[in-house]
């Protein structure tokens, strides 16, 4: 009995991890590759979820909503890049923090202006409802399996894009020396607009996919943002593989912590105390893990730069 639950929880952890990866993927791309701290990434995630919810409820099709989320997030992303982000590449991280912090305010309030203050409805599509049997007798939700699949596709796709294509090389080259890559004939600003829009689209996709599981509302991007940063920092900035591993570590640690800590503590103290202290420790756990990892590997598990 307990073993079955343990296995299911491990799967849940893995799935939460992949979900986090989906959120972190776009961020790694922008953050790792272009060297830009984009606090507004969570807002792009929110835009994706809103676009999906609005279009899905207007047309009745989740899939149209999904497309809308990609288009909307990429569009807003491109707009932001041209209007704002472009001026920030050669600034230090601080200016980027302030500018994208301002963008959060603008985008959150803008979304509330457009869509109202109440959470929106978004459910998983008919096609993906229900569960599939697991070996060993358990069951697992189809939709969550689909998210795992999408996460893996995104991971592989991004990895290949960055590591294997000329586009990826140019992006990395531009990260270390924008001037030089321009002097060699590459239109780096257009390239970066495209990359930023791509990262935004990934955020939007994550927002739409995860929005069907969660609440679609203003501010939904913030907790995600911090977690996504945790994930890519654990994995090592600029590394898609690192982001995936980091995400799974965070997902599993968080899930298992929430599940196991209270019962473990209950062995040593009264149950009532154990549940609250266990919960408190569980909420700190991923940050503890992150601090430990960085203390021993100051640039993450799979740092691109040594």
């Amino acid at each position: 009995m307990f073993t079955a639950l343990l296995i299911e929880q491990l799967l849940n952890g893995l799935q939460l991890g992949v979900m986090l990866f989906l959120m972190a993927a776009g961020l790694t791309l922008i953050f790792g590759v272009m060297g830009l701290i984009n606090l507004a990434h969570g807002s792009l995630y929110m835009i994706g979820a809103f676009a999906c919810a609005v279009v899905a409820s207007a047309t009745g099709s989740f899939w149209l909503g999904l497309i809308a989320s990609l288009v909307a997030a990429a569009g807003v992303g491109a707009l932001i890049e041209v209007a704002v982000i472009r001026r920030l590449y050669d600034r230090d991280h601080l200016d980027q923090v302030l500018a994208t912090f301002a963008l959060i305010l603008i985008l959150s309030e803008g979304a509330r202006w457009l869509f109202g203050s109440f959470p929106l409805y978004l459910d998983i599509p008919k096609l993906l409802q229900g569960a599939v049997p697991l070996p060993g007798g358990g069951q697992y939700q189809l939709y969550r399996l689909a998210i795992i699949a999408v996460g893996i596709v995104v991971a592989v796709g991004l990895y290949l894009l960055i590591a294997r294509t000329r586009l990826g090389m140019r992006i990395r080259a531009g990260e270390s020396d924008r001037e030089m890559i321009a002097a060699l004939g590459v239109d780096i600003s257009t390239l970066y607009t495209v990359v930023f829009a791509l990262g935004a689209a990934l955020a939007g996709l994550a927002g739409a996919l995860v929005g069907a599981l969660q609440s679609v509302q203003v501010g939904m991007g913030e907790p995600v943002l911090i977690l996504a940063f945790v994930v890519i920092v654990i994995g090592g900035i600029g590394s898609i593989k690192g982001a995936l591993v980091g995400a799974v570590i965070v997902g599993v640690v968080d899930t298992m912590g929430r599940f196991l800590l209270p019962s473990l503590l209950a062995l040593t103290m009264p149950a009532a105390q154990a549940t609250t202290i266990g919960a408190a420790l569980a909420s700190m756990l991923i940050y503890v893990v992150m601090a430990l990892i960085l203390a021993f590997r100051p640039s993450g598990l799979f740092a691109a730069q040594s």
Partner: protein, 228 residues
């Protein structure tokens, strides 16, 4: 045919003027040496040509087209290949990736670059940030060649290179010259630079003060302008 011509080029860094009127021209298939003491404006001239610093006055044309004020990537695509001062290889790309990332055209290939610099073949998958100085210089030249430029510009062609490798680089430049490649080159070692050059330009305090054949650069002139 004139490939590149500069007339009265003036460039500023903020409020301080670095170029006060540089005139220079390069004909098709020619090797031109750009000389001058430290800080006289050689690098600034080169960066002004490629658009990395924006000149304030003057005229630049390349292949008959006015390129003054154009953005660097457009200038580069017209057929200018830069080997910059300080090499500036992309540290987080491997040797191979450095070469192919910005490659254009078909004449120069990875194989041909490796023929020119066998060392790069051995270091193919090593990140450029871990290369030694000389290896990076070879990589920077290879990278510029891979864009198949009509004019290749080498700023400090052999800085920091071991004598044997310096000879390799000069041999490579001669080979390129023989193949009809136009080259603008800056280098400190006159004894090696002058024999390769068809013509020389000397800058002093941001102005062209000498133009002519290497032979015309007499020891007195060398002493006056270059401190040799």
């Amino acid at each position: 045919m004139t490939l590149l011509s500069l007339k009265g080029l003036e460039t500023f860094y903020g409020a301080s003027q670095a170029l006060f009127g540089v005139d220079l021209d390069i004909r098709q298939g020619e090797v031109v040496a750009l000389m001058g003491r430290n800080g006289m404006g050689k690098t600034t001239t080169i960066n002004s040509i490629i658009g990395l610093v924006r000149p304030r006055a003057g005229a630049i044309s390349f292949g008959g087209k006015a390129i003054f004020g154009m953005r660097p990537h457009r200038i580069a695509r017209l057929g200018l290949g830069l080997v910059p001062e300080g090499r500036r290889c992309f540290p987080n790309l491997t040797v191979m990736e450095n070469l192919v990332a910005t490659a254009r055209g078909s004449e120069w290939t990875f194989g041909k670059v490796v023929d020119l610099f066998p060392r790069l073949g051995e270091r193919r998958d090593q990140y450029a940030r871990t290369l030694s100085g000389g290896e990076q210089q070879m990589l920077a030249i290879g990278r510029a060649l891979m864009t198949n430029p009509r004019l290749i510009i080498l700023d400090e062609a052999t800085e920091g290179l071991a004598p044997v490798i310096r000879q390799d680089i000069w041999a490579a430049i001669r080979k390129l010259k023989a193949a009809g490649q136009s080259i603008l080159v800056v280098d400190k070692t006159l004894s090696e630079l002058l024999p390769v050059a068809d013509r020389c330009f000397v800058l002093e305090k941001g102005r062209t003060v000498f133009e002519g054949a290497p032979a015309a650069l007499t020891p007195e002139l060398q002493d006056r302008y270059l401190g040799v």
